[in-house]
């Protein structure tokens, strides 16, 4: 079996462009400007790998190719898209590629995360080049084996063919012991020559998932594995006191109650026995400070509280300070959570100074570093085997349970599985922070003369172990929190975005789209109010304020497309129905949506959502559609129903159903139209999270006299 190493294969790839790279030599203000621009365009992350040894492809005896994916499959379809990219340049069918997750001991280690909608955009050119290099190496090898000059050989369908002869890739590999790189850099195909990229192929994991075959972190096992349940803090600020494990230790099936400085766990022969024993564990918890209440959370997250950073400022805003006829609106969004269906689970097996960890994680490298730091085991002795993820949405960028499982395995000398219970997912994961927005604008002759957006938010990126601890000092504004908060209406000469960093006494962080949903809700609802005040059609009003540059034109393109497919403003709707429109540009992908709603039994019923998106080069249009449908459904759920509150330091509610989420009855027809401009792929997973909430709110404002300024919309009653 031939293993292509990184050393052979990464010849032409560039180094990673990261935040830390520029800090030494660029001034604070310049870096902030650079960072705002880059983060807004979604261009912060370039893919590069940095650890040996690793290999991407393995040619198998049956002429299939094992592809070790550094990106983790969490539902977003990344296995399928990457397989199509590989197939295109490697000249092999997607069916001949078997995609597996890259374990840290084997394949490429992702220096970044699986998240931020950049799995395709950050790997596309490198992966295309790797596949093309491999194809050329196979072709050049065939020159000697077939005795045919290179110009007479072509690679097709997993074979090198020429003059009526052919060799499969596997046959070439079997006859080769030394490989050399092509003398010249392979030429990549032009998009018009693509045969696999752009095809709506079924996802590669489809049948396996329908048969329930994939193994998720919660399913991971080792032989003779023990099961652990960790006791986690029952409320924010709780300090653990005396642990009485007498009853628990005697409970059926218990192997050991393990007490560590930072956690207590019950390890048993079965999960059920561990859960039962945990109930018998007596732990004293005390709180040195009064228990946190929602009222205090609301007081913390407010415009005017916390630290102020100006994120965007152009022109002159004095007219906003004086004019009485200025238009002002405030918006609020609540605490929310990921509620991914698979609770976090991890299996670890420690033996002789080395450990194997099987789990769902969105950041293999970070998880490994955290285990190393906490246990003292060398990173290279920690082998992370990523599993399929039962949803990610940002939740699996935080993986302290990995370290717990390793410690427990060290402690009892068996492999151990640690499970997060659902209630713990609510209380001990992290939350989407609440936000408060103030928007003000002045209209002049039907156009916006000046506009300001003030955002107050709990932290998103700051405080995460993925972001350097000096980031708040250097940047001031949390780029996760203001994501989606800038104005893409660049024809407005005078504009300003101010960000108030409001630090909460509990962990808030990554959630699909970060601040995108909250900020789009505020801005796009406000723009609709301005259009109404200006007595203009909401789509024409938007277009008039978008700059006619490359980026602006693409945004205008999706607005016009969504108007076309929905008939917005033109189609005669049934009595009691109304449409609302909204748009967003996120990770450089513009999206526009139209929601059609009615009021049913005093509540909003969303009947249909139209979506137009321009993600650049499309690898798999069906995958793009699925991501749009998914993001629209999740955004609808979050904006219509979802809300958490803090009561006595506890996240309430802490279970499904009580935490109301969309069910099949709540999800409308969804029609997606994909525009594809350019020859590079951009992100898809998060951008469609932006417009859905304001599209619904704008439809409701058009239908009723109510301007909804607070999420979730279920709090509004209609007659």
């Amino acid at each position: 079996m031939w293993k292509a190493t990184r050393r052979n294969f990464l010849i032409k790839t560039g180094a990673g462009l990261g935040l830390a790279l520029g800090l030494g030599w660029v001034g604070k203000k310049a870096i902030r400007g650079f960072f705002v621009e880059q983060a807004d365009k979604g261009a912060l992350v370039q893919f590069s790998t940095d650890t040996e040894p690793q290999y991407w492809f393995e040619v198998q005896k049956d002429n299939t190719v094992l592809f070790h994916s550094p990106k983790i499959e969490m539902g977003q379809g990344v296995f399928s898209a990457l397989a199509q990219i590989v197939a295109e340049e490697l000249e092999i069918s997607v069916n001949q590629i078997k995609v597996v997750h890259s374990a840290t001991s084997h394949g490429p280690i992702d220096p970044n995360t699986t998240g931020g909608s950049d799995s395709i955009s950050s790997t596309f050119s490198q992966l295309s080049m790797l596949a093309a290099l491999m194809r050329e190496m196979l072709r050049e090898r065939a020159v000697a084996l077939l005795e045919i000059p290179l110009s007479g050989l072509s690679a097709q369908n997993g074979h090198v063919i020429g003059q009526g002869k052919k060799l499969s890739y596997a046959q070439i590999v079997a006859q080769t012991s030394e490989w050399s790189l092509p003398a010249t850099e392979p030429t990549l195909k032009k998009p018009e020559k693509y045969q696999v990229i752009g095809k709506p192929l079924p996802r590669v994991d489809l049948e396996a998932k329908v048969k329930a075959e994939p193994i998720f972190g919660i399913d991971a096992t080792f032989p003779d594995m023990a099961y652990a349940v960790v006791v986690r803090s029952p409320y924010f600020g709780a300090v653990r006191g005396i642990v009485n494990a007498q009853e628990a230790s005697k409970s059926l099936g218990v192997i050991k109650v393990v007490e560590q400085p930072d956690f207590v766990a019950v390890v048993a022969k079965s999960r059920y026995e561990a859960l039962m024993a945990k109930e018998k564990l007596q732990i004293e918890w005390t709180s040195p400070t009064p228990l946190l209440q929602q009222k205090e959370v609301n007081e913390i997250v407010q415009i005017g509280k916390g630290d102020l950073t100006v994120v965007q400022e152009n022109g002159d805003l004095t007219c906003l300070e004086e004019g009485e006829d200025n238009i002002k609106l405030e918006f609020h969004t609540p605490l929310g959570t990921h509620a991914q269906m698979e609770p976090n689970g991890v299996a670890a097996y420690y033996k002789d100074g080395k450990v194997v960890v099987k789990m769902s994680t969105q950041s293999v490298k970070n998880t490994r570093n955290e285990i190393a730091e906490a246990t003292g085991i060398r990173a290279e002795d920690i082998d992370i085997h990523p599993t399929f993820m039962g949803g990610g949405f940002g939740r699996r960028l935080y993986t302290p349970h990995a370290y717990e499982a390793v410690v427990l395995s060290q402690e009892i000398g068996l492999s151990v599985h640690v499970l997060f219970e659902r209630e713990q997912e609510f209380q001990n994961g992290y939350l989407r922070p609440p936000t408060h927005h103030k928007l003000s604008a002045k209209l002049n002759n039907g156009k916006i003369e000046a506009i300001e957006h003030q955002i107050a938010s709990g932290d998103v990126a700051f405080g995460s172990s993925l972001v350097p601890s000096f980031a708040p000092t250097v940047l001031g504004a949390d780029f996760g929190a203001w994501r989606g908060g800038l104005f893409h209406y660049e024809n407005i000469q005078n504009n300003s975005v101010k960000y108030w960093r409001c630090q909460l006494p509990f962990f808030t962080s990554w959630w699909r789209g970060l601040g995108l949903m909250a900020n789009s809700f505020a801005i796009e609802s406000f723009i609709d109010e301005l259009a109404k005040k200006a007595k203009q059609d909401p789509i024409s009003f938007r277009i008039a304020h978008i700059k006619q540059d490359e980026r602006g034109k693409r945004l205008i393109g999706v607005l016009k497309e969504v108007q076309k497919i929905s008939g917005f403003g033109q189609k005669v709707l049934s009595e009691g129905h109304a449409m609302g429109v909204a748009c967003a540009t996120d990770v450089n992908t513009p999206v526009a949506q139209v929601a059609e709603v009615k009021i049913e039994n005093g509540a909003i019923k969303v009947l249909k959502v139209y979506c137009a998106i321009d993600p650049g080069l499309v690898i798999n249009p069906d995958g793009v559609k699925a991501q749009c449908e998914g993001a629209i459904s999740m955004g609808l759920s979050a904006s219509m129903f979802e809300e958490l509150n803090i009561e006595d330091g506890k996240v309430m509610p802490n279970q499904y159903l009580q935490y109301q989420m969309a069910q099949i009855r709540d999800i409308p027809d969804i029609e997606v139209s994909i525009l594809s401009s350019g020859d590079t792929p951009r992100g898809v997973g998060e951008p469609p999270m932006g417009p859905i909430a304001p599209a619904i709110a704008n439809a409701v404002a058009s239908l009723t006299s109510t301007r909804m300024t607070k999420i979730p919309f279920k709090q509004y009653q209609f007659s």
């Binding site: 994991d205 329908v210 949803g391 699925a626 449908e629 099949i664």
Partner: protein, 172 residues
């Protein structure tokens, strides 16, 4: 001192009636387990019998990820003690198609439903149950009967797949 501690332990458990020998039909085959009688069926399937297709989502019967069939009816296996399946028939996602793809699974493939895939076994088990009761469900029937939770947002395709499965069943 040549005592077999494990044997001793199990004898002790039995004397104290801490575990119970239970028999039931699992995916068409007779199955016996010796487990605590209050142990939820979900954990027996997943941990004792290593059938990982039935998923844990909430442990309170709220999300439906653990849906299986008990004597032909959909139940949430996290909330039913294994003692209640004694001498009954249990079918999990692994046995739904009896070695082939069930019409619901076929429809799920044709409509390309799954994303992360975690909740899908529960949805497919709930749908198979619905189609036994209502062979050609309306949208309102689907709304009333399919109450599982999916976070990726595959509901739109799922509805199409449920209608498709009903058609496939009628052709068969």
């Amino acid at each position: 001192m040549n005592l077999n501690l494990v044997t001793c332990y199990s004898v002790l458990l039995k004397i104290n009636k801490l575990t119970m020998l239970l028999k039931f039909d699992l995916n068409g085959k007779s199955q016996s387990v010796d487990v605590p009688e209050d142990m939820p069926l979900l954990w027996v399937l997943r941990d004792t019998l290593q059938l990982k297709g039935t998923k844990f989502g909430c442990g309170k019967g709220l999300c439906g990820a653990c849906t299986v069939h008990l004597d032909g009816n959909a139940i949430r296996s996290c909330s039913i003690p294994v003692s209640q399946v004694q001498n009954k028939k249990v079918v999990t996602i692994e046995g739904l198609g009896q070695g082939q793809l069930h019409a619901v699974q076929q429809a799920w493939i044709e409509e390309g439903v799954p994303q992360c895939g975690y909740c899908q076994p529960g949805f497919m088990m709930a749908t198979a149950d619905l189609l036994q009761r209502i062979p050609n469900p309306t949208d309102a029937d689907i709304d009333d009967n399919i109450t599982n939770i999916c976070r990726c947002g595959t509901y739109y395709r799922m509805r199409k797949a449920i209608h498709k499965a009903a058609q496939l069943n009628q052709k068969a």
